[in-house]
């Protein structure tokens, strides 16, 4: 019995234990006389069947059904976790905000005169004539030149002024 023999046997023990190799007569003799190798042989044989009882109780087809079911569910959910989907989602959200609130840069009052008029109408009584003219002009921003052509009160002849005052006072 030599250490070299023990090493050779040690390397072969798993193969013989699994049934993929067999002992030679010499190896069998060594195994019978070497306590260390016999113990290792016992260890590997027992370790080789660890979990066999539990594995036998597991249903591989049921396991496959569970695993494939989970994979299918993930396949339905996973695309939305990918970065591309996040980017697309952000773009869609931005588009929705723009549609709801109107395009950026559309805050110029002249672009939407009606909105300003709504706020100005309650205060018309306190306006000066020139301011009133401006407000009137804003009702139709497409024709500002026509509004400007209306003569100011200072420019009216006496007779015209009286007509305007009569119209205002009833």
């Amino acid at each position: 019995m030599t250490v070299e023999q023990c090493n050779v046997l040690s390397d072969r023990i798993p193969d013989v234990a699994s049934g993929s190799a067999q002992w030679s007569t010499e190896e069998q003799d060594h195994l019978a006389s070497c306590r260390e190798c016999a113990l290792e042989w016992q260890l590997v044989q027992r370790a080789g069947v660890l979990g066999d009882r539990i594995a036998a109780a597991v249903d591989p087809e049921a396991m496959a059904a569970t695993v494939v079911g989970r994979l299918q569910r993930e396949e339905r959910v996973l695309p939305f976790r990918r970065p591309g989907w996040w980017a697309a989602g952000l773009v869609a959200a931005a588009a929705a905000i723009v549609l709801l609130l109107g395009p950026f840069g559309d805050s110029d009052p002249a672009a939407d005169p009606a909105a300003d008029v709504v706020w100005l109408v309650p205060e018309l009584d306190s306006l000066e004539t020139t301011e009133l003219m401006s407000v009137l002009a804003s009702f139709d921003p497409a024709t500002p030149d026509e509004v400007l052509m209306v003569p100011f009160i200072d420019d009216l002849e006496d007779q015209e002024l009286e007509q305007v005052l009569q119209a205002w006072e009833g």
Binding site: S10, D11, P14, D15, A17, S18, S20, E36, L39, E40, Q42, L43, V44, R46, A47, G48, L50, G51, D52, I54, A55, A56, V58, P60, E61, M63, A64, A65, T66, V67, V68, R70, L71, Q72, E74
Partner: protein
């Protein structure tokens, strides 16, 4: 159109390719084929009987998620078992390093050799406990060699080490486990 599952007994590589191409039957076949090996490996490495089912399921899910990273250098089963080892390591970490090898409930022996069965059960517990206390590489090399019959070259490919290093890990594991059996 990618490869589809054909009749006969396709290899693991063919099944993996078929799954990548969208054939779910390939996944079913791969799980069915390797479930028991994963269960035995996890149980041997220290998983309790109660948790081994869930851990096995997780190992397969993770394997399919990263199937593209399996290049076929190592056998599919060896690659899968290293994933199972990673999952078990994470589980150990969740327990804050406590490696719990539950002594499984055993029914009272009622066979012809009750003492022998009990002794075998005790030996199994001692081996599992010893395995759970080995460094991870030693434990996985030992289990791949003893349970799966993988040679050192195959083990080295699966664990990203050299055959010589795998052999050294194996013999260290054997030495420490033998001390537990004495």
């Amino acid at each position: 159109m990618g490869p589809q599952l054909e009749s006969g007994s396709p290899s693991d590589a063919e099944l993996a390719a078929a799954y990548r191409a969208g054939d779910e039957r390939a996944a079913t076949e791969l799980v069915t084929r390797h479930t028991r090996a994963v269960v035995r490996f996890l149980y041997g490495a220290g998983a309790s009987e109660a948790e081994v089912d869930d851990l096995t399921q997780e190992a397969f899910i993770k394997a399919f998620r990263k199937l593209d990273s399996w290049r076929g250098d190592a056998a599919f089963r060896s690659w899968l078992l290293t994933i199972a080892g990673n999952i078990l390591k994470d589980e150990f970490r969740k327990r804050k390093g406590r490696r719990m090898v539950a002594l499984e409930d055993r029914e009272l022996p009622d066979r012809a050799d009750p003492h022998g069965e009990l002794a075998a059960g005790e030996a199994e517990d001692r081996i599992r406990e010893g395995l759970s206390q080995l460094p991870r590489l030693q434990r996985e090399v030992f289990l791949l060699r003893v349970q799966q019959g993988a040679d050192y070259s195959e083990i080295a490919r699966a664990l990203d080490t050299t055959p010589g290093a795998a052999r050294v890990h194996y013999h260290h594991a054997v030495k420490r486990l033998k001390e537990r059996l004495l």
